[in-house]
């Protein structure tokens, strides 16, 4: 009996998850669009000029949500990785690999917008600010994860190796962040921080929160789409994928 239960857990999950995800994706897209449009209109049309930074600060409506997402996605990825190692479920590995590229994308957006924000504010494209540096390292960690999984042919081994790497990374991120921060304060003193504008108007805050929600919905939608593709590829020898595709033809 217990065998049956485990079988169900391990084998039926993708099969039930696939159509469910398919139904959920349009809703997440819709929510992403609604939140994104309202957030951006508040940020770019309604929010007042910042006293110190002028109009350039509006980049934070992109930069801050992207940075948040890049870090949050890494945590979620590690959560799935840990689940996969602990319970040996097939879905977890797929979710972790589905999330990584989106996380890397947000890390890149965060760096790009950070550089474009830094040029007018600090007069230089790149500063070795603790946040930007950690974000860069986070991007390296994402790339490492993706590269490791791409280099291993057997999907089960790729999942497990990726999971170990993700967990090692998640332990290391705080250490890296604090060491970079320490290094930074020793070398150039406290720098202007992007997120700590002294007087953050409520409209700005709302705009930012809505944008962050939009990024959230976007990430879920894209990750689900990618997970569905990975599922089909990995389960291509199973009957449910065969019947599913036969119905499509």
């Amino acid at each position: 009996m217990s065998h049956r239960l485990i079988n169900w857990f391990r084998y039926a999950s993708p099969q039930t998850f696939y159509p469910l995800a398919g139904k959920m994706i349009p809703w997440f897209w819709m929510l992403a669009a609604i939140f994104g449009l309202t957030g951006l209109s508040i940020g770019f049309l309604l929010a007042p000029t910042d006293a110190q930074q002028g109009e350039g600060y509006r980049i934070i409506f992109l930069h801050v949500p992207a940075s948040w997402m890049s870090m949050f996605i890494y945590l979620v990825m590690s959560f799935w990785a840990a689940m996969g190692l602990a319970f040996n479920t097939r879905l977890s590995g797929m979710m972790a690999s589905a999330l990584a590229p989106t996380g890397a994308l947000f890390a890149f957006i965060s760096l790009w917008t950070g550089a474009l924000w830094g040029k007018p504010m600090w007069g230089t494209w790149w500063v070795w600010d603790a946040r930007l540096t950690s974000e860069l390292i986070l991007l390296f960690l994402y790339i490492g994860f993706i590269a490791l999984q791409a280099a291993i042919d057997d999907p089960r081994r790729a999942d497990k190796a990726g999971a170990i790497l993700a967990l090692v990374g998640v332990v290391n991120i705080p250490i890296i962040y604090f060491s970079v921060k320490w290094w930074n304060t020793l070398h150039q003193g406290a720098s202007v921080s992007l997120t700590k504008s002294p007087s953050m108007a409520t409209t700005m805050l709302w705009g930012m929160l809505l944008c962050a929600l939009a990024c959230w919905m976007y990430s879920i939608a894209v990750a689900l789409m990618r997970a569905r593709t990975i599922m089909l590829e990995r389960e291509r020898h199973t009957d449910w994928v065969r019947t599913l595709l036969a119905a499509k033809e």
């Binding site: 002028g54 350039g56 989106t102 790009w112 089909l232 036969a246």
Partner: protein, 72 residues
């Protein structure tokens, strides 16, 4: 509404290049990613369907010798 004119809005108080540079790149990336995912999915579906069809042919080929052999 915060802005007086469209030109004002586009200029972003002399920071237009940076603000719009951020917006355009972010938008492009966030549009490109789902498109790439969808394209990857289509490619995979086509590949799988072709593979299943090929296997179907294969299977029929395989079955003949085994049925011939089994009564023996």
């Amino acid at each position: 509404m915060h802005w007086n004119s469209l030109a004002d809005f586009l200029a972003m108080g002399d920071h237009g290049l940076y603000v719009w540079g951020s917006v355009v790149v972010t938008a492009l990336l966030m549009i490109a990613e789902p498109i790439l995912v969808v394209r990857g999915r289509r490619k995979l579906l086509l590949r799988l369907m072709r593979q299943y069809r090929a296997e179907g042919v294969d299977r029929r080929d395989h079955r003949q010798p085994t049925t011939r052999r089994s009564p023996a």
